[in-house]
């Protein structure tokens, strides 16, 4: 079933469209920055954007910071909201269930396909923006002097290429986990309704609500439990030494969301009447 799910996902035009759109925004930003050379002043604009014009290798970090707040959640909401509700509205859900595919197995396969989607999405953004960044801004100041084009950490210490790859891989994993948590919530919403659109909008409402509560002092007690609070913690991976506190805490919260949302999806879907 998992293989079937993955094949189904990879053959959906919508999924590829999401990936293309995700990669387009950073590319557009890179082109605009490269042509105008008007980087935002330090401390303003997106994270890392001020630094990319001097070293294109930082651009993946800037690109991730660009797509995380809105674009990535939207695509995750679309794909996750479609998981069960989409099959239900197309009618294929009943045929899968009488094949038979166990309901828990179906949910698990859906969750895994969402995980594959987000992982590939983050990976594509990282790879595309690396290529675009290097093409637009070069390898950095010391490359022209015969250096290796190293990437500086936020703390000023240069990172070795191996280090950069390791940290980037951790970032990709961490962000995929953050988005998977959102995907699990989407999966749950998707079992509640037969309309994929309703589930997608539900996920977006969830993101917006979380982002709205986050800066409120009155909500500081629940702030650590909000999913959006941890979305930028990966930046700590580019400090030196790495600050693991927030990344670890964030990963635990996101895992908690995955477990709870999947549990809720299971509780709702196991005995749900499939009437579509």
């Amino acid at each position: 079933m998992i293989g079937v799910e993955l094949r189904l996902m990879l053959r959906r035009r919508r999924v590829w469209l999401c990936w293309v759109l995700l990669c387009t925004l950073p590319t557009l930003v890179a082109i605009l920055l490269a042509t105008t050379r008007l980087a935002p002043p330090p401390g303003r604009g997106g994270a890392f954007l001020s630094a990319v014009t001097s070293n294109g290798q930082i651009f993946p970090a800037a690109a991730l910071a660009l797509v995380i707040p809105i674009f990535l959640p939207i695509t995750v909401a679309i794909v996750a909201g479609d998981t069960v509700a989409g099959e239900a509205s197309a009618g294929t859900l009943r045929y899968l269930l009488v094949r038979p595919v166990g309901r828990v197995r179906l949910l698990l396969a859906k969750l895994i396909s969402v995980a594959a989607f987000v992982l590939l999405a983050v990976l594509f953004v990282t790879l595309v923006s690396y290529v675009v960044g290097v093409a637009a801004f070069g390898f950095g100041p010391d490359a022209s002097l015969g250096g290796t084009g190293a990437i500086p950490s936020l703390s000023g210490v240069e990172l070795t290429p191996v280090d950069v790859v390791a940290r980037t891989a951790t970032t990709v994993g961490y962000l995929a986990l953050c988005m998977l948590a959102l995907g699990a919530v989407g999966l749950f919403f998707s079992t509640l309704t037969d309309s994929p659109l309703a589930a997608t909008l539900g996920v977006l409402a969830f993101v917006v609500a979380s982002a709205a509560l986050q800066p409120l002092d009155a909500a500081s007690a629940i702030e650590p439990y909000l999913p959006t609070s941890h979305w930028l913690a990966w930046i700590d991976l580019f400090r030196d030494p790495i600050l693991w506190t927030n990344v670890r805490g964030g990963a635990l919260v996101q895992l908690g969301y995955v477990v709870v949302a999947f549990g809720a999806a299971w509780a709702n879907f196991s005995t749900k009447d499939v009437t579509t």
């Binding site: 401390g43 001097s54 936020l154 210490v157 506190t245 709870v260 005995t271």
Partner: protein, 364 residues
């Protein structure tokens, strides 16, 4: 059927509660029989080497003061800090911002400032007796050392222990006796074994809630390695050297008058090297500082004060305004020589008002 549905949901609810509970529940703190006086003495005796991550929260409600935004931010928001402390003269503190960091290194009698946003490492030579507050001052160990040092003679009482960063921290409270200070209490929790302060709370007399509190979320009692304490300049970044005394030079430009020997009944604290025009008055936490400012800055503060709910102060010459928060009072006055002055301190606003009136006006 219905029973099965409910059973599943009960299971999910229980799981959720377990997940949230595991995150929210903290172990109870073990009590300590160390007397409060001994804990204070432990903090005064010296801070052990440590590496930690701390968060400081300020709720002073200060208005934006022009040219001092970075300082006011420290007292009005959350500051994330990373401290690597090997000793009093060998440490590094990072102020973490969402997309960068400002790191202060101290070693070999020099200070280094790395600012990722500016992509620049500044080496600061020398030292000044008075400087603006900075993020490194808010690390719990440093803040505790400073505040406890200022209140050596004040009464101290014990507080309930707390669980902080995995330690059972013993607490003590210092209530400053000086009637003129705005500081109501200083609460410090520290690891009784090593004497490392883990949390500091400062509350005003008028408000029981802490207005400034800082706490280690993670800390280890080991010395940071040398590599961590070594500032680096990545390729492409700027490296500049500044003299700490440059500040004195800037002050000299203002051609400020020698500060009076006494203000508002408080003696001037003698400062080592010369910072012309700067005076520190009073002792302990009931002190304030007098800083000459350019006319432009003084005027902007006075104008800004009106917008931020400050009150004008009557002075013989020129104009002045006061911004008071429960903990910190600030008074700005223009019309002194060619510029103005700023007075700030954790004292009652009336003290600063009196002080600003006592200042001699424009020279005839």
């Amino acid at each position: 059927m219905a029973a099965r549905v409910t059973r599943r949901w009960v299971l999910v609810a229980a799981g959720t509660a377990a997940v949230v509970g595991a995150a929210a529940v903290t172990l109870p703190a073990a009590g300590s029989d160390e007397p409060a006086e001994a804990l204070r003495a432990g903090v005064l005796a010296g801070i052990p080497a440590h590496v930690g991550y701390a968060e400081s929260t300020g709720r002073l409600g200060l208005p934006e003061i022009p040219a001092l935004e970075q300082v006011t931010a420290l007292f009005t928001g959350v500051t994330q800090l990373r401290a690597y402390v090997a000793g009093p003269d060998r440490w590094r503190v990072d102020e973490l911002t969402p997309a960068g960091e400002r790191d202060t290194y101290r070693r070999d009698g020099r200070e280094y400032l790395w600012d990722f946003g500016a992509n620049q490492l500044t080496t600061v030579e020398g030292e000044t007796p008075v400087r603006l507050p900075r993020a490194a001052d808010l690390v719990p160990s440093e803040l505790a050392r400073r505040l406890v040092g200022l209140t050596r003679g004040d009464p101290v009482t014990s507080l309930d222990p707390r669980r902080i960063a995995g330690y059972s921290a013993a607490g003590f409270r210092i209530a400053p006796a000086d009637p003129d200070t705005t500081v109501g209490r200083i609460d410090v929790w520290c690891d009784p074994a090593s004497g490392l302060p883990l949390r500091v709370e400062v509350a005003a007399r008028t408000d029981d809630r802490p207005l400034l509190f800082t706490e280690f979320l993670e800390v280890a009692l080991n010395a940071p390695d040398d590599r961590t304490l070594t500032p680096a300049v990545p390729p492409g970044a700027g490296a500049v050297t500044a003299e700490a005394a440059d500040l004195a030079g800037a002050l000299r430009q203002l051609d400020a008058a020698e500060p009076p020997a006494r203000l508002a009944g408080r003696a001037r604290v003698p400062l080592g090297s010369g910072l012309p025009g700067v005076g520190v008055y009073g002792s302990g936490v009931a002190g304030f500082v007098l800083v000459p400012a350019s006319r432009g800055i003084a005027d902007r503060v006075i104008d800004g004060a009106a917008a931020a709910g400050g009150t004008p102060v009557d002075v013989p010459v020129g104009r002045a305004a006061r911004v008071s928060t429960p903990l910190l009072s600030v008074v700005a006055r223009g019309g002194i020589r060619r510029g103005g002055v700023l007075l700030a301190g954790t004292v009652a606003p009336a003290v600063l008002e009196q002080a600003v009136r006592e200042l001699p006006g424009r020279r005839a």
